[in-house]
Symmetry: C2
Subunit: 461 residues, 2 copies
C-alpha cells in the first residue's frame, strides 16, 4: 500500500503570499547589468523607459528577501494555483528505481506552462501604472500565450513578436493568443527598424528570440510611453515571480516529510529553473542542506555547458543593456530542426553566477533522447509533456537510473513546466523517425562568440 498520496495540492490558504528573492541569499552577487553606451551599471531610471516602474525596482533589488504578491495577482493565481506536486509512482515502477521521484506540474492552466506565473504580475504592474499595453517576444509560444491570458484579464493591449519559424510551425499558438485579444507578428518583421535590418542582412532567416526581443523593445519605445516591454525569462524579476514554483514545492514536500537530494529543471533562459530551485538553492547557499541542483539544456543550444561567461546583449539587435551571463553570443541562431523552446542564446545572470561559482551542475541532451523520455513518461504518468519539460524528465530519469545501479533511495524533484498540446508536429516527427539531432561544432559556436561585444569587461574572461 502507498504511504504517501499521489499528489499534494496545497489549499489556497497555504499558497505563498510572498515571492522569494534568491539574490538576497547569494554570498556574491551577479555582475551588474551595464548600459551599452557608458558601460556603467544600469539604474532604475535607465530601465524606466523600457520596463514598468515596479518591475524595474524588482530587477535591481538584491536586498529584500521577500516581496509581497499583490492581492489582484493572488486572485488570478488562485484560479489555477497552487499547482500539484505529483509522485511519479508508475514511472518509478517502470524504471525499477529505488529513488522517489516527484514532479511539480505547472501545465494545468490554459497558457499550458509556468509562464503565467510571471505574466500575471507583469500585466498587473503595467495596468497599475496606467499603461495602455505591453509588447513582448515569444519563441515556442508559451510566454506569448501566458501574457495574452494575463492581459485579457486586465484589459490591456498585448503585442507579441513571435519567432518566425515557430509562427509558421504553430499556427494554433497564434490563434490562441488571438482568442485572448493579443496581436501576433512573425519576427523578424518589416514593422520595426530592427526587423528590417535583420531581414536586409538575411531575408530567409527563421528568426530568433534575440531578434524578436529587439523588435518588441523597439515597439514599446515607439509607443511614446504608452506601452512597456515585458520579458518572460532571463530577468531577475522573472525569477522572483517564478519562485512560487519552488516555494510551493518545498511546502508540499514538507507535508510529506521529504527533502530533495537532487533538483532537476530544464534551462532555456532560466525562468522555470530559477523559480523551482530558489528555496532549495538558498538552503544550499546557507549551508542548511546540500541538494544537488541540475540544469538540463538542449545540446543544440548549450549556453551553460558550452557557452562563455561574458557580458552580452540580451537581444540580436543590440539595443538592450548588457548582462554578464553564460551565452553563445547574441548572433547565435539555433538550428531550425530544434523543437520547442529553450533556444535562447543566454542564461539568467543569477543562474549563470551560481553555475560559475559551482553551486549548480549542467547537462545537455540531444532532442531525440529527450522525446524518448517524453513518450515514456506520457505512457506511465498520463501527462503529455512539453518538449522543454521533457529535458527535465530525461535528466530526472537518468538520475533515477543511476540510483537503480547504486541502490540509493534518493529523492528526486523535477519541474514539469508545461503540456505538449501545441507540440504535436514535433512528436509526430519523433514517432515517424524523421526527427534529427543537431550538435553545433566548435566552429559553429565560434561564430556566435564572435558576436560578443568587444568591451574591456569581456577581455580575459
Amino acid at each position: 500500500m502507498k504511504k504517501t498520496p499521489h499528489k499534494v495540492i496545497l489549499t489556497e490558504d497555504q499558497m505563498p503570499q510572498r515571492w522569494f528573492n534568491l539574490r538576497a541569499a547569494m554570498p556574491e552577487q551577479p555582475d551588474p547589468m551595464l548600459r551599452p553606451d557608458t558601460l556603467q551599471p544600469v539604474t532604475e531610471a535607465d530601465l524606466a523607459p523600457i520596463f514598468c516602474e515596479e518591475l524595474a525596482r524588482q530587477e535591481l533589488d538584491a536586498e529584500h528577501e521577500f516581496t509581497d504578491i499583490p492581492e489582484p495577482v493572488l486572485e488570478i493565481y488562485k484560479m489555477y494555483r497552487p499547482a500539484p506536486l505529483i509522485r511519479a509512482y508508475d514511472l518509478e515502477r517502470a524504471l525499477g528505481t529505488p529513488a522517489r521521484i516527484y514532479f511539480k506540474y505547472e501545465g494545468n492552466n490554459t497558457s499550458g506552462s509556468h509562464k503565467l506565473n510571471s505574466a500575471v504580475p507583469q500585466a498587473y504592474y503595467a495596468k497599475q501604472q496606467g499603461l495602455a499595453g505591453v509588447t513582448t517576444e515569444t519563441g515556442a509560444g508559451q510566454w506569448g500565450t501566458a501574457l495574452s491570458v494575463a492581459c485579457a484579464y486586465f484589459d490591456l493591449s498585448c503585442q507579441v513578436y513571435m519567432v518566425k519559424c515557430s509562427y509558421e510551425q504553430k499556427p494554433f499558438r497564434k490563434a490562441m493568443m488571438n482568442v485572448f485579444g493579443a496581436g501576433v507578428t512573425p519576427s523578424p518583421s518589416m514593422t520595426t527598424e530592427a526587423g528590417r535590418k535583420i531581414l536586409a542582412e538575411d531575408p530567409n532567416t527563421t528568426g530568433s528570440l534575440g531578434c524578436a526581443i529587439s523588435e518588441a523593445v523597439e515597439a514599446a519605445a515607439a509607443s511614446q510611453g504608452g506601452k512597456r516591454y515585458v520579458l518572460g525569462s532571463v530577468l531577475n524579476q522573472v525569477l522572483l515571480h517564478q519562485s512560487i514554483i519552488g516555494l510551493e514545492s518545498k511546502l508540499a514536500l514538507e507535508q510529506l516529510g521529504e527533502y530533495p537530494d537532487i533538483v532537476v529543471g530544464c534551462a532555456g533562459g532560466g525562468s522555470n529553473l530559477g523559480g523551482l530551485i530558489a528555496p532549495f538553492m538558498a538552503d544550499k547557499l546557507r549551508g542548511v542542506k546540500a541538494p544537488r541542483i541540475v540544469a538540463v539544456e538542449p545540446a543544440s543550444c548549450p549556453s551553460l555547458t558550452r557557452g562563455r561567461y561574458a557580458y552580452d546583449f540580451c537581444d540580436t539587435g543590440r539595443v538592450t543593456p548588457l548582462a554578464r551571463m553564460y551565452t553563445l553570443g547574441s548572433g547565435f541562431v539555433p538550428a531550425p530542426n530544434h523543437a520547442g523552446g529553450l533556444r535562447y542564446h543566454g542564461m539568467s545572470p543569477i543562474l549563470s553566477k551560481l553555475y560559475h561559482d559551482g553551486y549548480m551542475e549542467a547537462v545537455s541532451y540531444e532532442q531525440s533522447r529527450v522525446f524518448e523520455a517524453a513518450v515514456f513518461f506520457a505512457k506511465h504518468e498520463t501527462i503529455l509533456p512539453a518538449p522543454e519539460s521533457a529535458h527535465a524528465i530525461r535528466g530526472a530519469m537518468d538520475e533515477a537510473l543511476r540510483c537503480k545501479e547504486t541502490g540509493e533511495e534518493k529523492v528526486i524533484l523535477f519541474g514539469l513546466t508545461g503540456t505538449g498540446f501545441f507540440d504535436m508536429t514535433a512528436y509526430e516527427s519523433y514517432l515517424s523517425g524523421r526527427m534529427t539531432d543537431y550538435v553545433p561544432t566548435d566552429a559553429d559556436l565560434q561564430k556566435g562568440f564572435d558576436s560578443l561585444p568587444d568591451i574591456p569587461q569581456n577581455r580575459g574572461l
Copy 2:
C-alpha cells in the same frame, strides 16, 4: 473580501470511492435495450461478445445504487482527480449578476476532458478480463485520446475509428493518440464491411459517429474474442463512471455550504451531463431538493429539443442493439460546419427517460452564440473551453443574466468538460467571422426520422 475560496479541490482521501448508479433512484426505468433480431430485451449473455463482462453487468444493473471503484482505477484517478470546483468570480462581475456561478472543471488531464473518467475503468476491465485490446470510435477526438491514455497505462492495444471530417480537421488529435500507442483510422474506412458499404453509398461522406461505431463494433467482433468494443458516451455504464463528476461537485459545494438551484450541462450522448447531474437528480427524484436541471445541445444536432423518443440503433450500420432514446435517426449526419463534438444522433436512454418524464429541461444554441460565450469566458476565467463545454457556459451565462433581471441570487453549477486546445481551427473560424450556423429544417430532420427502425415498438410513439 471574498468569503469563499476561488476553488475547492478535494483531497485524495475525500475522493469518492464508489460510483453512483442514477437508475437505482429512478421511479420508472428507461425502456430496455432490445436485440434487433428478436426485439427482446438484451441479456448480459447477448452483450458479452461485444462488451467486457463487468461492463455488460454494469450496463444492465438497475438495482445497485453504488459500485466500488476498483483500486487500480482509483490509482489513475488520483493522478488527475479530484477535479477542481471553481467559483467564476470574474465572470459574475463581468455579467453583473447576483447569481453565484460554479463550474466543475474536467480539463486538467492530458486527454483534455472528462472522458478519461470512463476510459480508465473500461480499459481496466478489459485488461482484467485478459483481453488483448479494445476498439472504439471518436468524433471530436476527446474520447479516443482518453482511451489511448488509459490503454497506454494498462499496456492494452487500442484501435480508434475517427470520424473522417474530424480526422482531417484535427491532425494533432491523431498524433496525440499515436504518442500513447493507439492506432487511428479515418471512418468510414475500407477496413470494415460497414465502412465499405457506407462508402459505396456515398464515397464523399464526411463520416459520423454512428458510422464509426459500426466499424469499431465490427473490428472487435472480427478479433475472435481477443478484443472488445468500448464506447465513451450514451451507455448506462458510462454514466455510472462519470457520476464521479457529480459526486465530487456535490461534496465540494457542501464544503462551501452551497446547493445548486440550477445545474447546467452540455449534452451530446450524455456522458458529462449524466455524470454531473447524477446526485442532484437523485435528490430531485426523491423529493429531497428541487434543482432545475438544464441540458444544452447544439441547434445543429438537436436530439432532445427536436428529436423523437423512439427505439433506434446506436450506430449507422445498424449492428448494435436498439435503445429507446431521443434520437434524430441513425441516418442523421450533422452538417460538416458543426464544430466540436455533441454530434451524436441519439441521447443516453437514462437522460432521455428523465427528460421525457419532465425532470429535466433542454435548450439549444447555434454555434456562433456558443463561441461568443467561449471567448467571453476565456477572457474572464483564463480557461479556454472546448466548444462542447462552451454550450454549458452559454446556458449558464443566460441563466445568470436572467438572475440579473430578477435580482435572484441563485446558485448555478455547470460542467466545464474540457479544454479547447485542439479546437483552434474552430476558434479561428469564429474570430475571423467565417463561422456559419446551421439549423436543420423540418425536412432535413424528417430524412433522419425516416431511418428509424420500423418495428412495432416504434408505432404510435
